[in-house]
């Protein structure tokens, strides 16, 4: 029986039908942080923008082939047949959702079933290697409205030297708490560089400092090493920026090895992190997406945050150099990374809600070194 208009037909809506995809690699002048903006056009509807860490020529060709004859709403069916790198897919995911939001006239978080909150707590990623540089950056970020700071563990010169490590870290954190002033909180970032033993000793020593959490305390090479840190003290631990597969998060949860999931925004994209968050929810745990990219991904992160029940905080790079901060604000038409009293504001307007400033892509274009 043919039921015209009742059931799905093969006809594509030109407002949603994707046509061309272009990528714009950019690089911050001082920090050298690099990321790639994706522009996805439709036949006669709005264009969408996304961001990821990078798209290889082979992946770009594969994405361009995959979007032909498809609507921007059909991310699941496109994802099915693709074998591109995770970041490329993450960028496409953001751009497709941007189009769906613009087509339906609402912010992406509403497409996804949100909002679940009216603002999103911010975590400033502090740059600097020395205590002095870090204190200066914390003070600056605090003045800009930040209340939570991601601070690196001090560099040390050998393994299994917990006394030196504990003392240097404690000194850095105590100074940071003074520099940040009242009402400030900290995430300590070991970038996966400590041994499980050093990490566990440090976590135990800092139990009463009340870190928000201890991030990537040791390499995530195997679960039993990671479990050691979470199992021996009450300092919350975060893992996930290096995790390529969602299954890694499920193993961490199964193994009681984690307190905060840290999927990389520019590796997993909005949809995949929503799935990872769904896995975490029945363990009563939150996600706090790792983010070391640019401002368009920050906008995507805010929509993600406003769609999740178990979101806690969003990391945002806070470049030490004024030039880098200027570039971040110039890529988008309106500011998305402004922070008030420790919170990022939800973008307003359809789609990702950021006007994109295309001329700035050329100005900050990444060039081969």
């Amino acid at each position: 029986m043919l039921m015209i208009g009742v059931f799905v037909s093969a006809q594509l809506n030109p407002q949603l039908e994707m046509s061309t995809l272009d990528v714009f690699p950019v690089r911050e002048p001082v920090s050298k942080r690099a990321y790639t903006v994706l522009r996805l056009r439709t036949r006669s509807g709005p264009a969408g923008y996304g961001e990821c860490s990078g798209v290889s020529p082979a992946d770009l060709a594969a994405l361009r082939a995959a979007i032909q004859g498809k609507e921007a709403s059909s991310f699941e069916s496109i994802r099915r047949g693709l074998t591109v790198s995770a970041p490329a897919l993450a960028g496409l995911n953001m751009a497709m959702l941007d189009i769906v939001g613009k087509f339906t006239g609402v912010p992406v978080y509403q497409v996804l079933g949100g909002p679940t909150r009216n603002q999103a707590r911010a975590l400033a990623q502090i740059e600097g290697e020395t205590d002095d540089a870090i204190m200066a950056a914390v003070g600056q970020a605090r003045a800009a409205g930040h209340r939570a700071f991601l601070i690196p563990v001090p560099a040390t010169h050998s393994r299994n030297h917990s006394a030196t490590l504990v003392n240097a870290t404690r000194q850095r954190l105590d100074r940071a708490r003074s520099a940040g002033g009242e009402g400030c909180d900290f995430v300590l970032d070991a970038r996966g560089k400590l041994t499980p033993g050093d990490a566990s000793a440090l976590a135990a020593a800092l139990e009463r400092f009340h870190l928000l959490w201890f991030d990537e305390p040791c390499p995530l090479s195997n679960l039993s090493a990671a479990s050691k840190v979470a199992g021996e003290n009450v300092t919350p631990v975060g893992f996930g920026r290096f995790a390529a597969e969602a299954g890694v998060f499920q193993d961490l949860l199964r193994g009681d090895a984690v307190d905060v999931l840290r999927p990389d925004l520019c590796r997993h994209g909005i949809t995949q992190i929503r799935r990872i968050a769904a896995v975490a929810e029945p363990y009563y745990l939150a996600v706090a997406p790792f983010h070391d990219g640019g401002p368009i991904a920050t906008a995507a992160a805010l929509h993600l945050a406003a769609s999740l029940p178990n979101f806690f905080i969003q990391q945002v790079p806070y470049p030490a150099a004024e030039e880098d901060r200027r570039m971040r604000s110039r890529l988008t038409g309106k500011p998305v990374e402004d922070v008030r009293d420790g919170f990022l504001q939800l973008p307003v307007g359809p789609g990702l809600g950021v006007g994109v400033n295309e001329p700035a892509f050329t100005e900050y274009q990444e060039r081969a070194a």
Partner: protein, 447 residues
């Protein structure tokens, strides 16, 4: 030391050494959080969805109506429980929370959620889901799960209608524009009937059927009854042939011990799955069966929310999850269950044996999850009384397969129009208890 003295002493100790911060800024102590309105007393945060005002739509829910619906003469049909959310935008959303044997309870629970939704924006469905689930304090359970399911579906129906798109597009689908793969019940008594059903399947493009067990089973079973069960399943395979997928629903009639013995015998038949080989409350019992047999195990129709499946997924017990759109917590919860299952390589074959609204909602979800296997509808290859009624309600044949797939509704929301007028012909005739069966000695049997 008496209790009073102890408390005073402890406070003194805190004041002396433990408590950080200036003494003047100490918070007032709270002794009981059982007050029913703890936050509004402080008035620091707007209550309920008001906190999200300005971040959603201008549509407001103006009314919540519940409907018990009985179709006379449809032997297998439960009274359905539907809910309708009306809005100030002239749009209405429909959902279903049919819970067999507990229609009155679900309708009561739906009324209990009235205050959560009247005056609220229907767009932030996740917020409403969380509020209904978390703020109910008592967690889970099929009555609350079914009520939340109904309201969640109605909210998704409204969301799609407000945005002008079918729900599957909001979820990222469709995986397959031709529709969603399904199966019917193998309603046949004899080998000849089964052979005719196989011919019908071939003509209609049907790819799978589900059968059941022929008896009720005690904790341990006799050679005779085990042989009867095995022969019954062998007959299904013999009649339907080698090319159709066959699932067998044990319906938790069996204990883990009896189920394991039967499944071991039927392994050579390569069934699509064995369903609910034991009751659902005990994950380790289910695991004991799954560990000992190679046939895929499916379960989950009685479970609520992703919380309800966590342990099954975590322990890698099952191959297929079957949470039901009308009990698990609607689209929002079923999507999350599918996400959990997907990470562990578990497939989704959502259960559906109630009314048509939950089933149509299931199609939208099925078409947008990566690990979808097949969708139930409890229908038969030959249309039944209920199929005629559903077509009368919607104006199209709902949940009737074309080439082995249920066509996906394309209209905004869940993709159908339903009027209260259409339901008036089928007034609620009371809750109908589930079947009660007993062993020969009068003891209670699983059904």
């Amino acid at each position: 030391m008496n209790r009073r003295h102890f408390l005073t002493g402890a406070t003194g100790a805190l004041a002396a050494g433990q408590m950080a911060g200036a003494p003047g800024r100490r918070p007032a102590l709270s002794f009981c959080d059982c007050a029913l309105d703890p936050q509004s007393a402080a008035q620091r945060v707007p209550v309920g969805a008001q906190a999200l005002e300005g971040f959603g739509s201008k549509v407001r829910i103006t009314n919540l109506k519940t409907f018990g619906v009985t179709i006379p003469g449809a032997a297998a049909d439960r009274p359905y429980t539907f809910v309708k959310l009306e809005t100030n935008a002239g749009l209405s959303g429909w959902g279903e929370g049919t819970l067999e044997g507990k229609a009155n309870a679900v309708m009561g629970c739906l009324e209990d959620f009235r205050e959560f939704l009247i005056g609220a924006d229907p767009m932030p469905v996740e917020h409403h889901w969380q509020s209904m689930y978390v703020h109910s304090f008592y967690r889970g359970g099929p009555v609350m799960g079914s009520a939340i399911s109904a309201l969640d579906q109605a909210l998704w129906d409204l969301r799609g209608k407000i945005l002008g798109v079918p729900v599957y597009k909001l979820l990222g689908g469709p995986n397959d524009p031709d529709g969603v793969r399904g199966y019917y019940a193998a309603n046949a008594r004899t080998l000849d009937d089964l052979r005719r059903l196989r011919e019908t399947a071939s003509a209609q493009g049907i790819t799978a059927f589900k059968g059941g067990l022929p008896n009720y089973y005690e904790w341990i079973e006799t050679h005779e009854k085990i042989t009867e069960a095995v022969r019954h399943i062998e007959t299904l395979r013999e009649g339907l042939g080698p090319d159709l997928d066959i699932a067998v629903d044990f319906h938790a009639k069996t204990s883990p011990s009896v189920a394991s013995v039967i499944i071991k015998e039927i392994e050579p038949l390569h069934l699509l799955w064995v369903e609910e080989p034991c009751p659902p409350e005990n994950v380790k019992a289910m695991a004991r069966i799954a560990r000992r047999v190679a046939t895929p195990i499916a379960t989950g129709e009685r479970l609520v929310a992703s919380y309800g499946v966590r342990e099954l997924v975590e322990q890698g017990v099952v191959d297929i999850l079957q949470t039901d759109m009308n009990h698990v917590g609607g689209i929002t919860a079923l999507w999350k269950v599918a996400a959990l299952a997907n990470v562990s390589g578990i497939s989704m074959a959502p259960h559906a044996c109630e009314g048509p609204i939950g089933m149509l909602a299931s199609l939208h979800l099925d078409s947008a999850i990566p690990n979808f296997l097949i969708q139930e509808c409890c229908g038969q290859a030959a249309p039944q009384v209920r199929d005629k009624v559903w077509e009368e309600w919607f104006g199209f044949p709902a949940m009737r397969m074309v080439n082995g797939k249920y066509p996906l509704p394309e209209k905004p929301g869940l993709g159908f129009e339903l009027t209260e007028e259409a339901l008036k012909k089928y007034p609620f005739n009371g809750s109908r208890p589930m079947a009660r069966v007993f062993h020969k000695d009068g003891s209670v049997a699983e059904w």
